[in-house]
Protein backbone atom coordinates (compact mmCIF):
# COMPACT_ATOMS: atom_id res chain seq x y z
CA UNK A 1 0.00 0.00 0.00
CA UNK A 2 1.35 3.38 -0.98
CA UNK A 3 1.82 5.62 2.00
CA UNK A 4 3.14 9.10 2.34
CA UNK A 5 6.52 8.86 3.98
CA UNK A 6 8.33 11.50 5.89
CA UNK A 7 12.07 11.64 5.94
CA UNK A 8 13.73 13.63 8.65
CA UNK A 9 16.54 15.63 7.12
CA UNK A 10 18.01 17.37 10.09
CA UNK A 11 17.29 20.02 12.64
CA UNK A 12 16.92 23.74 12.25
CA UNK A 13 18.59 25.91 14.88
CA UNK A 14 16.55 28.41 16.81
CA UNK A 15 18.24 31.71 16.19
CA UNK A 16 15.91 34.67 16.59
CA UNK A 17 18.25 36.92 14.61
CA UNK A 18 17.54 34.91 11.44
CA UNK A 19 14.13 34.34 9.98
CA UNK A 20 14.36 30.57 10.06
CA UNK A 21 11.65 28.17 11.08
CA UNK A 22 12.01 24.71 12.55
CA UNK A 23 10.96 21.95 10.17
CA UNK A 24 9.85 19.82 13.06
CA UNK A 25 9.88 20.10 16.80
CA UNK A 26 11.01 17.25 18.97
CA UNK A 27 8.91 16.30 21.94
CA UNK A 28 11.74 16.30 24.43
CA UNK A 29 11.21 16.65 28.14
CA UNK A 30 12.81 19.90 29.22
CA UNK A 31 16.19 19.51 30.81
CA UNK A 32 17.11 16.12 29.32
CA UNK A 33 19.63 16.11 26.51
CA UNK A 34 18.48 14.31 23.38
CA UNK A 35 20.32 11.02 22.85
CA UNK A 36 20.50 12.02 19.14
CA UNK A 37 22.47 15.20 19.80
CA UNK A 38 25.77 13.59 18.84
CA UNK A 39 24.42 12.40 15.50
CA UNK A 40 23.33 15.67 13.95
CA UNK A 41 25.33 16.46 10.81
CA UNK A 42 24.30 20.01 10.21
CA UNK A 43 21.39 22.34 10.63
CA UNK A 44 19.08 23.18 7.76
CA UNK A 45 18.36 26.70 6.75
CA UNK A 46 15.40 27.22 4.45
CA UNK A 47 16.92 30.48 3.20
CA UNK A 48 19.99 28.67 2.03
CA UNK A 49 17.79 26.19 0.16
CA UNK A 50 15.44 28.68 -1.50
CA UNK A 51 17.66 31.70 -2.04
CA UNK A 52 20.65 31.47 -4.34
CA UNK A 53 21.36 35.21 -4.64
CA UNK A 54 20.31 36.98 -1.42
CA UNK A 55 21.16 40.48 -2.72
CA UNK A 56 18.95 39.94 -5.79
CA UNK A 57 16.07 38.03 -4.19
CA UNK A 58 12.77 39.70 -3.31
CA UNK A 59 9.49 38.39 -1.93
CA UNK A 60 6.42 39.28 -3.97
CA UNK A 61 2.76 38.58 -3.16
CA UNK A 62 0.71 37.06 -6.02
CA UNK A 63 -2.82 38.30 -6.63
CA UNK A 64 -5.41 36.61 -8.84
CA UNK A 65 -5.80 33.02 -9.97
CA UNK A 66 -4.72 33.11 -13.60
CA UNK A 67 -1.48 31.25 -12.90
CA UNK A 68 -3.05 28.39 -10.95
CA UNK A 69 -1.79 25.83 -13.46
CA UNK A 70 1.72 27.03 -12.70
CA UNK A 71 0.92 26.38 -9.04
CA UNK A 72 0.46 30.05 -8.15
CA UNK A 73 -2.71 30.91 -6.22
CA UNK A 74 -4.13 34.19 -5.04
CA UNK A 75 -2.16 35.38 -2.01
CA UNK A 76 0.82 33.04 -2.50
CA UNK A 77 4.31 34.20 -1.74
CA UNK A 78 6.72 34.26 -4.68
CA UNK A 79 10.48 34.08 -4.28
CA UNK A 80 11.83 36.19 -7.09
CA UNK A 81 15.47 36.18 -8.19
CA UNK A 82 16.53 39.16 -10.30
CA UNK A 83 20.01 37.72 -10.92
CA UNK A 84 18.73 35.01 -13.26
CA UNK A 85 18.62 35.52 -17.01
CA UNK A 86 14.95 35.14 -18.04
CA UNK A 87 14.51 32.19 -20.42
CA UNK A 88 11.80 30.48 -22.40
CA UNK A 89 9.40 28.77 -20.00
CA UNK A 90 10.33 30.79 -16.89
CA UNK A 91 7.59 32.22 -14.73
CA UNK A 92 8.55 35.88 -14.44
CA UNK A 93 7.50 39.10 -12.79
CA UNK A 94 7.02 41.55 -15.66
CA UNK A 95 6.30 45.25 -15.38
CA UNK A 96 3.60 45.86 -17.99
CA UNK A 97 2.23 49.39 -18.43
CA UNK A 98 3.45 50.36 -14.98
CA UNK A 99 2.07 47.34 -13.16
CA UNK A 100 3.83 44.28 -11.79
CA UNK A 101 2.34 41.07 -13.22
CA UNK A 102 3.22 37.40 -12.99
CA UNK A 103 3.32 35.56 -16.34
CA UNK A 104 5.10 32.78 -18.15
CA UNK A 105 7.74 33.82 -20.68
CA UNK A 106 7.58 31.99 -24.02
CA UNK A 107 9.74 32.18 -27.12
CA UNK A 108 8.12 31.16 -30.38
CA UNK A 109 9.31 31.76 -33.95
CA UNK A 110 11.89 34.25 -32.75
CA UNK A 111 9.39 36.31 -30.78
CA UNK A 112 8.84 36.60 -27.05
CA UNK A 113 5.42 36.31 -25.44
CA UNK A 114 4.02 36.70 -21.95
CA UNK A 115 1.26 34.19 -21.29
CA UNK A 116 -1.10 33.45 -18.44
CA UNK A 117 -1.61 29.80 -17.69
CA UNK A 118 -5.34 30.32 -17.08
CA UNK A 119 -7.96 30.50 -19.81
CA UNK A 120 -9.24 33.65 -21.38
CA UNK A 121 -6.02 35.66 -21.45
CA UNK A 122 -4.47 35.87 -24.92
CA UNK A 123 -0.66 35.77 -25.11
CA UNK A 124 0.95 39.18 -25.09
CA UNK A 125 3.60 39.57 -27.77
CA UNK A 126 6.57 41.60 -26.56
CA UNK A 127 7.66 44.35 -28.92
CA UNK A 128 10.41 46.94 -28.73
CA UNK A 129 8.14 49.93 -28.26
CA UNK A 130 6.12 48.47 -25.38
CA UNK A 131 6.28 49.82 -21.87
CA UNK A 132 7.43 46.47 -20.55
CA UNK A 133 10.40 44.93 -18.84
CA UNK A 134 11.05 41.65 -17.11
CA UNK A 135 11.54 42.46 -13.43
CA UNK A 136 12.71 39.10 -12.15
CA UNK A 137 12.41 35.35 -12.40
CA UNK A 138 10.11 33.47 -9.98
CA UNK A 139 12.09 30.65 -8.44
CA UNK A 140 9.65 29.29 -5.88
CA UNK A 141 6.07 29.73 -4.82
CA UNK A 142 5.14 29.32 -1.18
CA UNK A 143 1.58 28.13 -0.84
CA UNK A 144 -0.18 27.41 2.42
CA UNK A 145 -2.10 24.12 2.51
Amino acid sequence: MAQNQVEILGRVPFDPSRPTLPLFIEGVAAGFPSPADDYIDRNLDLHEHLIEHPAATFFVRASGNSMVRAGIHDGDLLIVDRALEPRDGHVVIAAVHGELTVKRLRRSHGRLYLISDGNGFPPLAITEDMDLHVWGVCRYVIHGL
Binding site: P16, S17, H53, P54, A55, A56, F58, F59, V60, R61, A62, S63, G64, N65, S66, M67, I72, L77, L78, R82, A83, I93, A95, G98, E99, L100, T101, V102, K103, S116, G118, F121, D131, H133, W135
Partner: protein, 419 residues
Protein backbone atom coordinates in the same frame (compact mmCIF):
# COMPACT_ATOMS: atom_id res chain seq x y z
CA UNK B 1 43.38 51.57 -9.68
CA UNK B 2 40.10 52.51 -7.98
CA UNK B 3 36.50 52.78 -9.03
CA UNK B 4 33.84 54.93 -7.41
CA UNK B 5 30.34 53.49 -7.83
CA UNK B 6 27.65 56.07 -7.14
CA UNK B 7 23.91 55.35 -7.38
CA UNK B 8 21.98 57.74 -9.62
CA UNK B 9 19.26 59.71 -7.77
CA UNK B 10 19.38 56.93 -5.20
CA UNK B 11 16.19 57.53 -3.20
CA UNK B 12 14.12 58.22 -6.32
CA UNK B 13 15.58 55.09 -7.94
CA UNK B 14 14.60 53.01 -4.89
CA UNK B 15 11.01 54.25 -5.19
CA UNK B 16 11.02 53.20 -8.85
CA UNK B 17 12.16 49.63 -8.27
CA UNK B 18 8.79 48.51 -6.91
CA UNK B 19 6.57 50.99 -8.71
CA UNK B 20 7.18 50.81 -12.47
CA UNK B 21 4.71 53.68 -13.04
CA UNK B 22 7.48 55.98 -11.80
CA UNK B 23 9.76 55.09 -14.70
CA UNK B 24 10.74 58.13 -16.78
CA UNK B 25 8.52 60.31 -14.60
CA UNK B 26 9.77 63.21 -12.48
CA UNK B 27 10.11 62.01 -8.87
CA UNK B 28 10.96 64.03 -5.76
CA UNK B 29 11.64 62.61 -2.30
CA UNK B 30 10.90 64.79 0.73
CA UNK B 31 12.82 65.17 3.98
CA UNK B 32 11.51 64.02 7.35
CA UNK B 33 8.12 65.61 8.01
CA UNK B 34 7.70 66.21 4.28
CA UNK B 35 9.47 69.55 4.70
CA UNK B 36 11.88 69.96 1.79
CA UNK B 37 12.99 68.16 -1.33
CA UNK B 38 16.00 66.00 -0.39
CA UNK B 39 16.55 64.35 -3.73
CA UNK B 40 15.05 64.10 -7.18
CA UNK B 41 15.17 62.20 -10.42
CA UNK B 42 16.82 63.72 -13.51
CA UNK B 43 13.33 64.46 -14.91
CA UNK B 44 12.40 66.51 -11.84
CA UNK B 45 15.73 68.31 -11.96
CA UNK B 46 14.99 69.24 -15.59
CA UNK B 47 11.78 70.96 -14.41
CA UNK B 48 13.93 73.35 -12.39
CA UNK B 49 13.18 71.86 -8.97
CA UNK B 50 16.12 72.35 -6.62
CA UNK B 51 17.20 70.16 -3.73
CA UNK B 52 16.48 71.87 -0.43
CA UNK B 53 13.46 73.80 -1.65
CA UNK B 54 10.45 73.68 0.75
CA UNK B 55 7.72 71.41 -0.57
CA UNK B 56 4.97 74.04 -0.36
CA UNK B 57 6.87 76.21 -2.85
CA UNK B 58 6.69 73.59 -5.60
CA UNK B 59 3.08 72.45 -5.12
CA UNK B 60 1.97 74.16 -8.35
CA UNK B 61 4.83 72.68 -10.34
CA UNK B 62 4.03 69.26 -8.91
CA UNK B 63 0.40 69.52 -9.98
CA UNK B 64 1.14 70.95 -13.42
CA UNK B 65 3.74 68.36 -14.42
CA UNK B 66 2.41 65.34 -12.57
CA UNK B 67 5.53 65.13 -10.40
CA UNK B 68 5.49 62.03 -8.19
CA UNK B 69 6.05 62.94 -4.54
CA UNK B 70 7.33 60.50 -1.91
CA UNK B 71 8.07 60.86 1.79
CA UNK B 72 11.50 59.48 2.59
CA UNK B 73 11.39 55.73 3.29
CA UNK B 74 14.77 55.11 4.88
CA UNK B 75 13.91 51.50 5.72
CA UNK B 76 13.58 50.76 2.02
CA UNK B 77 16.64 52.80 1.03
CA UNK B 78 18.76 51.09 3.69
CA UNK B 79 17.73 47.64 2.47
CA UNK B 80 18.44 48.43 -1.18
CA UNK B 81 21.73 50.10 -0.24
CA UNK B 82 22.88 46.90 1.50
CA UNK B 83 21.95 44.91 -1.61
CA UNK B 84 23.85 47.28 -3.93
CA UNK B 85 26.93 47.07 -1.67
CA UNK B 86 26.70 43.26 -1.58
CA UNK B 87 26.66 43.10 -5.40
CA UNK B 88 29.59 45.56 -5.65
CA UNK B 89 31.49 43.40 -3.17
CA UNK B 90 31.47 40.55 -5.69
CA UNK B 91 33.65 42.61 -8.02
CA UNK B 92 36.51 43.48 -5.70
CA UNK B 93 38.44 42.04 -2.79
CA UNK B 94 38.36 45.45 -1.08
CA UNK B 95 35.23 47.59 -0.87
CA UNK B 96 34.85 50.83 1.03
CA UNK B 97 31.21 51.75 1.64
CA UNK B 98 31.52 55.51 1.58
CA UNK B 99 27.89 56.49 2.08
CA UNK B 100 24.40 55.04 1.66
CA UNK B 101 24.77 55.27 -2.14
CA UNK B 102 28.53 55.40 -2.86
CA UNK B 103 31.38 52.91 -2.58
CA UNK B 104 35.01 52.71 -3.64
CA UNK B 105 36.24 49.46 -5.22
CA UNK B 106 39.87 48.40 -5.35
CA UNK B 107 40.58 47.32 -8.94
CA UNK B 108 44.35 47.06 -8.64
CA UNK B 109 46.00 44.47 -10.82
CA UNK B 110 43.53 44.88 -13.68
CA UNK B 111 44.68 45.73 -17.18
CA UNK B 112 44.03 49.39 -17.92
CA UNK B 113 42.32 48.75 -21.25
CA UNK B 114 39.89 46.28 -19.64
CA UNK B 115 38.67 48.67 -16.96
CA UNK B 116 35.81 50.30 -18.88
CA UNK B 117 34.40 46.90 -19.86
CA UNK B 118 34.69 45.77 -16.27
CA UNK B 119 32.89 48.92 -15.16
CA UNK B 120 30.10 48.17 -17.63
CA UNK B 121 29.74 44.66 -16.23
CA UNK B 122 29.51 46.06 -12.69
CA UNK B 123 26.92 48.64 -13.72
CA UNK B 124 24.86 46.10 -15.64
CA UNK B 125 24.93 43.59 -12.79
CA UNK B 126 23.92 46.07 -10.08
CA UNK B 127 21.04 47.31 -12.26
CA UNK B 128 19.79 43.80 -12.97
CA UNK B 129 20.13 42.42 -9.49
CA UNK B 130 18.79 45.39 -7.54
CA UNK B 131 17.07 47.67 -10.06
CA UNK B 132 19.32 50.57 -9.05
CA UNK B 133 21.28 52.43 -11.78
CA UNK B 134 24.86 53.31 -10.80
CA UNK B 135 27.56 55.42 -12.41
CA UNK B 136 31.14 54.20 -12.31
CA UNK B 137 34.20 56.44 -12.35
CA UNK B 138 37.63 54.88 -12.58
CA UNK B 139 40.96 56.48 -11.69
CA UNK B 140 44.30 55.87 -9.99
CA UNK B 141 43.24 57.84 -6.88
CA UNK B 142 40.01 58.47 -5.01
CA UNK B 143 39.96 62.09 -6.12
CA UNK B 144 40.40 61.16 -9.81
CA UNK B 145 37.81 58.38 -9.49
CA UNK B 146 35.42 61.03 -8.16
CA UNK B 147 36.18 63.29 -11.15
CA UNK B 148 35.65 60.32 -13.49
CA UNK B 149 32.35 59.58 -11.78
CA UNK B 150 31.16 63.12 -12.44
CA UNK B 151 31.92 62.55 -16.13
CA UNK B 152 30.24 59.12 -16.07
CA UNK B 153 27.06 60.82 -14.85
CA UNK B 154 27.09 63.84 -17.12
CA UNK B 155 28.94 63.07 -20.38
CA UNK B 156 26.37 61.70 -22.85
CA UNK B 157 28.93 59.37 -24.44
CA UNK B 158 29.78 57.80 -21.08
CA UNK B 159 26.73 55.57 -20.70
CA UNK B 160 27.40 55.50 -17.00
CA UNK B 161 31.08 54.53 -17.03
CA UNK B 162 34.16 56.74 -17.40
CA UNK B 163 37.81 55.93 -16.91
CA UNK B 164 40.60 58.38 -16.16
CA UNK B 165 43.10 55.55 -15.79
CA UNK B 166 45.19 56.90 -18.66
CA UNK B 167 47.17 60.03 -17.62
CA UNK B 168 46.70 61.48 -21.12
CA UNK B 169 42.92 61.65 -20.54
CA UNK B 170 43.35 63.33 -17.17
CA UNK B 171 44.87 66.62 -18.34
CA UNK B 172 42.06 67.56 -20.73
CA UNK B 173 39.34 66.72 -18.22
CA UNK B 174 40.98 68.49 -15.29
CA UNK B 175 41.32 71.69 -17.33
CA UNK B 176 37.52 71.81 -17.58
CA UNK B 177 36.82 71.22 -13.89
CA UNK B 178 36.46 74.25 -11.60
CA UNK B 179 38.29 74.00 -8.27
CA UNK B 180 35.03 74.42 -6.35
CA UNK B 181 33.76 71.16 -7.91
CA UNK B 182 36.72 69.08 -6.75
CA UNK B 183 36.02 66.49 -4.10
CA UNK B 184 37.63 67.63 -0.83
CA UNK B 185 37.81 71.31 -1.76
CA UNK B 186 35.12 73.13 0.16
CA UNK B 187 33.73 76.55 -0.72
CA UNK B 188 36.18 78.27 1.64
CA UNK B 189 39.28 76.67 0.12
CA UNK B 190 37.95 77.25 -3.40
CA UNK B 191 37.75 81.00 -2.77
CA UNK B 192 41.35 81.07 -1.52
CA UNK B 193 42.59 79.13 -4.54
CA UNK B 194 40.68 81.32 -7.01
CA UNK B 195 42.10 84.47 -5.44
CA UNK B 196 45.55 83.06 -6.10
CA UNK B 197 44.64 82.44 -9.74
CA UNK B 198 44.15 78.68 -9.37
CA UNK B 199 40.83 78.27 -11.19
CA UNK B 200 40.72 74.69 -12.47
CA UNK B 201 41.66 71.23 -11.23
CA UNK B 202 44.53 71.30 -13.71
CA UNK B 203 45.86 74.57 -12.21
CA UNK B 204 45.76 72.96 -8.78
CA UNK B 205 47.49 69.79 -9.95
CA UNK B 206 50.33 71.70 -11.62
CA UNK B 207 50.83 74.41 -8.96
CA UNK B 208 53.96 74.17 -6.87
CA UNK B 209 53.36 71.97 -3.79
CA UNK B 210 54.73 74.54 -1.35
CA UNK B 211 52.49 77.23 -2.83
CA UNK B 212 49.43 74.98 -2.52
CA UNK B 213 50.35 74.09 1.01
CA UNK B 214 50.68 77.75 2.03
CA UNK B 215 47.29 78.51 0.45
CA UNK B 216 45.13 75.61 1.57
CA UNK B 217 47.20 73.53 3.98
CA UNK B 218 47.97 69.83 4.07
CA UNK B 219 44.44 68.77 3.11
CA UNK B 220 44.50 70.84 -0.07
CA UNK B 221 47.99 69.62 -0.90
CA UNK B 222 46.83 66.05 -0.53
CA UNK B 223 44.02 66.73 -3.02
CA UNK B 224 46.52 68.29 -5.47
CA UNK B 225 48.75 65.20 -5.27
CA UNK B 226 45.74 62.93 -5.77
CA UNK B 227 44.80 64.90 -8.89
CA UNK B 228 48.32 64.15 -10.10
CA UNK B 229 47.68 60.44 -9.72
CA UNK B 230 49.49 59.86 -6.42
CA UNK B 231 47.21 57.98 -3.99
CA UNK B 232 47.13 59.81 -0.63
CA UNK B 233 43.71 58.73 0.65
CA UNK B 234 43.58 54.99 1.29
CA UNK B 235 40.61 52.65 1.27
CA UNK B 236 38.87 52.30 4.60
CA UNK B 237 37.18 48.95 4.61
CA UNK B 238 36.02 49.01 8.20
CA UNK B 239 34.94 52.48 9.27
CA UNK B 240 36.02 53.38 12.80
CA UNK B 241 33.29 52.50 15.29
CA UNK B 242 30.84 55.33 15.93
CA UNK B 243 31.75 57.64 18.79
CA UNK B 244 28.15 58.51 19.49
CA UNK B 245 24.61 57.46 18.71
CA UNK B 246 22.05 60.16 18.04
CA UNK B 247 18.31 59.71 17.72
CA UNK B 248 16.22 62.75 16.97
CA UNK B 249 13.22 63.68 14.89
CA UNK B 250 11.28 66.79 14.11
CA UNK B 251 7.70 66.60 15.29
CA UNK B 252 4.79 66.40 12.88
CA UNK B 253 3.26 69.34 14.75
CA UNK B 254 4.53 71.60 17.52
CA UNK B 255 4.58 69.92 20.93
CA UNK B 256 3.83 71.91 24.08
CA UNK B 257 2.87 69.39 26.76
CA UNK B 258 5.51 67.92 29.03
CA UNK B 259 3.98 64.42 28.78
CA UNK B 260 4.30 64.37 24.98
CA UNK B 261 7.89 65.54 25.13
CA UNK B 262 8.61 62.82 27.69
CA UNK B 263 7.09 60.19 25.41
CA UNK B 264 9.17 61.39 22.47
CA UNK B 265 12.39 61.41 24.50
CA UNK B 266 11.63 57.93 25.90
CA UNK B 267 10.96 56.66 22.35
CA UNK B 268 14.28 58.05 21.13
CA UNK B 269 16.05 56.52 24.13
CA UNK B 270 14.46 53.15 23.25
CA UNK B 271 15.66 53.34 19.64
CA UNK B 272 19.15 54.50 20.68
CA UNK B 273 19.35 51.62 23.16
CA UNK B 274 18.46 49.13 20.43
CA UNK B 275 21.20 50.49 18.20
CA UNK B 276 23.66 50.41 21.09
CA UNK B 277 22.95 46.71 21.69
CA UNK B 278 23.14 45.94 17.98
CA UNK B 279 26.69 47.29 18.00
CA UNK B 280 27.45 45.52 21.30
CA UNK B 281 28.31 48.74 23.07
CA UNK B 282 27.45 50.47 26.28
CA UNK B 283 27.11 54.22 26.83
CA UNK B 284 28.79 56.22 29.58
CA UNK B 285 26.74 59.39 29.14
CA UNK B 286 23.37 60.44 27.83
CA UNK B 287 22.30 63.85 26.56
CA UNK B 288 18.81 65.11 25.80
CA UNK B 289 18.20 68.13 23.62
CA UNK B 290 15.03 70.03 22.81
CA UNK B 291 14.47 72.89 20.39
CA UNK B 292 11.68 75.13 19.19
CA UNK B 293 11.50 76.28 15.59
CA UNK B 294 14.36 78.60 14.69
CA UNK B 295 11.96 80.72 12.70
CA UNK B 296 9.73 81.65 15.63
CA UNK B 297 10.03 84.94 17.53
CA UNK B 298 11.39 83.53 20.77
CA UNK B 299 13.36 80.42 19.97
CA UNK B 300 14.51 78.16 22.78
CA UNK B 301 16.94 75.28 22.63
CA UNK B 302 18.73 73.45 25.39
CA UNK B 303 20.72 70.35 26.18
CA UNK B 304 21.35 68.41 29.38
CA UNK B 305 23.73 65.54 30.01
CA UNK B 306 23.69 62.86 32.70
CA UNK B 307 26.43 60.31 33.42
CA UNK B 308 25.64 56.60 33.34
CA UNK B 309 27.57 54.78 36.00
CA UNK B 310 28.16 51.98 35.29
CA UNK B 311 27.92 52.38 31.50
CA UNK B 312 24.82 50.62 30.23
CA UNK B 313 22.79 49.39 27.25
CA UNK B 314 19.63 48.80 29.30
CA UNK B 315 16.55 50.51 27.85
CA UNK B 316 14.95 51.08 31.24
CA UNK B 317 18.04 52.81 32.62
CA UNK B 318 18.46 54.90 29.49
CA UNK B 319 14.82 56.04 29.58
CA UNK B 320 15.19 56.85 33.25
CA UNK B 321 18.30 58.93 32.51
CA UNK B 322 16.65 60.64 29.54
CA UNK B 323 13.63 61.71 31.59
CA UNK B 324 15.95 62.96 34.34
CA UNK B 325 17.89 64.99 31.77
CA UNK B 326 14.71 66.43 30.26
CA UNK B 327 13.32 67.69 33.59
CA UNK B 328 15.66 70.69 34.08
CA UNK B 329 15.54 71.84 30.43
CA UNK B 330 11.80 71.61 29.84
CA UNK B 331 10.25 75.08 29.88
CA UNK B 332 6.47 75.34 29.68
CA UNK B 333 4.94 77.74 27.19
CA UNK B 334 7.15 76.89 24.23
CA UNK B 335 6.12 75.11 21.06
CA UNK B 336 8.80 72.45 20.65
CA UNK B 337 9.76 71.42 17.13
CA UNK B 338 12.36 68.79 17.83
CA UNK B 339 13.74 66.54 20.56
CA UNK B 340 16.54 64.02 20.60
CA UNK B 341 18.73 61.72 22.62
CA UNK B 342 22.47 61.37 22.23
CA UNK B 343 24.59 58.57 23.70
CA UNK B 344 28.29 59.24 24.13
CA UNK B 345 31.24 57.65 25.90
CA UNK B 346 30.62 54.44 23.99
CA UNK B 347 32.72 51.41 24.79
CA UNK B 348 32.60 47.74 23.87
CA UNK B 349 30.30 45.74 26.09
CA UNK B 350 32.89 43.00 26.55
CA UNK B 351 35.40 45.38 28.08
CA UNK B 352 32.97 46.62 30.69
CA UNK B 353 34.59 46.99 34.08
CA UNK B 354 32.40 46.50 37.09
CA UNK B 355 31.95 49.53 39.27
CA UNK B 356 32.54 48.52 42.85
CA UNK B 357 30.36 51.26 44.24
CA UNK B 358 27.18 50.70 42.32
CA UNK B 359 25.12 47.63 42.98
CA UNK B 360 23.63 46.66 39.69
CA UNK B 361 22.26 43.38 38.43
CA UNK B 362 23.94 43.30 35.04
CA UNK B 363 23.27 39.70 34.22
CA UNK B 364 19.53 40.08 34.73
CA UNK B 365 19.44 43.23 32.59
CA UNK B 366 21.36 41.54 29.78
CA UNK B 367 18.94 38.62 29.69
CA UNK B 368 15.92 40.91 29.78
CA UNK B 369 17.22 43.07 26.91
CA UNK B 370 18.13 39.99 24.85
CA UNK B 371 14.57 38.71 25.32
CA UNK B 372 12.99 42.07 24.42
CA UNK B 373 15.16 42.39 21.29
CA UNK B 374 14.41 38.85 20.22
CA UNK B 375 10.63 39.28 20.61
CA UNK B 376 10.68 42.59 18.72
CA UNK B 377 12.76 41.13 15.90
CA UNK B 378 10.35 38.22 15.51
CA UNK B 379 7.02 39.92 16.08
CA UNK B 380 7.73 43.44 14.86
CA UNK B 381 9.24 46.61 16.32
CA UNK B 382 7.76 47.82 19.62
CA UNK B 383 5.81 44.62 20.31
CA UNK B 384 7.44 44.83 23.75
CA UNK B 385 8.11 48.35 24.92
CA UNK B 386 8.27 50.56 27.96
CA UNK B 387 5.06 52.42 28.71
CA UNK B 388 7.06 55.64 29.18
CA UNK B 389 7.48 55.73 25.40
CA UNK B 390 3.72 56.04 24.99
CA UNK B 391 1.42 54.47 22.43
CA UNK B 392 -0.50 56.94 20.29
CA UNK B 393 2.39 59.26 19.40
CA UNK B 394 0.26 62.08 18.03
CA UNK B 395 3.49 64.09 17.63
CA UNK B 396 4.90 61.60 15.17
CA UNK B 397 6.42 62.98 12.00
CA UNK B 398 4.36 63.44 8.88
CA UNK B 399 4.84 60.92 6.10
CA UNK B 400 1.86 61.62 3.91
CA UNK B 401 3.40 60.33 0.70
CA UNK B 402 5.11 57.24 2.07
CA UNK B 403 5.69 54.16 -0.05
CA UNK B 404 5.35 50.70 1.56
CA UNK B 405 8.21 48.93 3.34
CA UNK B 406 8.42 46.61 0.34
CA UNK B 407 11.36 44.54 1.54
CA UNK B 408 11.08 44.49 5.32
CA UNK B 409 7.41 43.91 6.26
CA UNK B 410 5.46 40.79 5.39
CA UNK B 411 2.23 42.74 5.04
CA UNK B 412 3.73 45.36 2.72
CA UNK B 413 5.32 43.17 0.04
CA UNK B 414 4.96 44.27 -3.59
CA UNK B 415 2.02 42.60 -5.35
CA UNK B 416 2.11 41.04 -8.82
CA UNK B 417 -1.20 40.40 -10.60
CA UNK B 418 -1.69 37.25 -12.63
CA UNK B 419 -3.91 37.41 -15.70
Amino acid sequence: MLALADCNSFYASCERVFDPRLRDRPVVVLSNNDGCVVTWSAEAKALGIAVGVPFFQIRDLVKRHGVIVRSSNYTLYGDLSARVMAVLGRFTPHLEVYSIDEAFLDLSGMQTDRLVDYGRTIRHTVLRWTGIPVSIGIGPTKTLAKVANHLAKNAPAAEGVWSLADPRDQTAMLSRLDVQDIWGIGARLAVRLERAGIMTALDLRDASPSHVRRLVGVVGQRTALELGGLPCIGLEEAPPPAKSIVRSRSFGRPVERREELEEAVATHATRAAEKLRLHRRVAGMLSVFVATSRFKEAPYANLATVPLDPPTDDTARLIHAALAALRPIFRPGFKYQKAGVMLVGLEPRAGLTESLFVQYDRDRSERLMAAVDSVNRRLGPDTLRYAAAGFAHPWHMRREHASPHYTTRWDELPTARSG
